[in-house]
């Protein structure tokens, strides 16, 4: 089981990390949720027995764990209302100043999206999932996934259009 956990981590931790960081907008929360996911996998090794799409299943686990965290926050100190407003480096560093500016603005624009739209946009753009896969991972209807993506992308486009046109 330990070897299997290591394989799962090596294959999926990067994707889970990026998704959770974009969703929670908090590095400590991301780490906590990621650890929760792997502790759950260690305790319930049968979870993945009948799973065909490991990545999709793990994204669903991570999403549910993040939602649970938000709810706990909601009952404790209402900090979840601040989810998404923090400025954190969600993208890799670059030496190119134009790219660096665009990434900074992109991270900020993502933070302004509602969490449910942000999750769909992330899975579509940076995980390359289909709407069917996104709907399964987030446990939402297919049309909802598609509409959330469209709304989220439109907001990003409006927000980033000036900078995008400038550096294009």
């Amino acid at each position: 089981m330990a070897a299997d956990l290591e394989r799962l981590y090596d294959e999926h931790a990067q994707a889970l990390f990026a998704f959770l960081l974009n969703f929670t907008r908090d590095e400590a929360d991301t780490r906590d949720v990621l650890q929760d996911v792997f502790v759950k996998l260690a305790r319930q090794s049968e979870l993945l027995a009948a799973v065909r799409d490991e990545r999709g299943f793990l994204l669903r686990l991570a999403h549910n764990a993040a939602i649970d965290l938000m709810r706990r926050r909601g009952t404790r100190d209402r900090k979840h209302e601040q989810f998404g407003t923090e400025q954190l480096p969600a993208f890799a560093r670059t030496e190119d100043p134009d790219e660096a500016a665009f990434r900074t603005e992109l991270a900020a624009a993502l933070g302004e999206l509602p969490a449910d739209q942000r999750a769909v946009v992330h899975l579509k753009l940076w995980e390359g999932l289909t709407f069917e896969q996104i709907a399964a991972a987030l446990e939402i209807p297919l049309n909802t996934a598609a509409s959330r993506y469209r709304y989220g992308l439109d907001k990003l486009r409006d927000r980033l259009r000036p900078l995008y046109d400038e550096i294009k």
Binding site: N22, Q35, A42, W126
Partner: protein, 146 residues
């Protein structure tokens, strides 16, 4: 349909997961896993022991144990069959007793016994002890009179 803007977004590389997290998270997961394993082992410890003992005893000579069981089945079947054959024997004895020759012999034996011992009605009836023997002084007077 992907436009240039979407493609531009897709090209932005996300941050890599901090390398130090790997050991921390996997370490926490490994610590969580043995706890459950130990609890399961403890709960079914005696079952596992019994299964191991039975496996040790039976598995290596499975054919031998099967044969032995078959032999026992045959022995029990033969035993039941033999008991069925011997069951009518008392009936036969009863039939012999009720035969005329046996009855005649029994009657002769009874007559002989009567001659030797005497008829039961010839014996004087045994004196019945009274429930209350009476006072001791009267018992002494009776003994003196006899």
């Amino acid at each position: 349909m992907n436009d240039d803007f979407e493609k531009r977004l897709q090209r932005q590389p996300v941050r890599p997961v901090p390398s130090a997290w790997r050991e921390e998270i996997l370490g926490a997961a490994r610590q969580a896993a043995p706890l459950v394993h130990t609890r399961r082992e403890a709960s079914s410890d005696w079952l596992v022991t019994i299964r191991q003992v039975l496996s040790f005893l039976f598995r290596p000579q499975r054919a031998g144990w099967t044969g032995l069981a078959a032999v026992w089945v045959v022995i029990i079947a033969l035993h039941l069959a033999a008991r069925d054959d011997s069951a009518p024997a008392p009936t036969m004895q009863a039939a012999n007793i009720t035969s005329p020759e046996t009855l005649r012999a029994l009657r002769q034996q009874r007559l002989l016994l009567t001659e030797l011992v005497g008829r039961p009605e010839e014996h004087p009836p045994t004196r019945q002890h009274s429930a209350s023997p009476g006072p001791r002084s009267q018992r002494w007077e009776t003994a003196v009179a006899v």
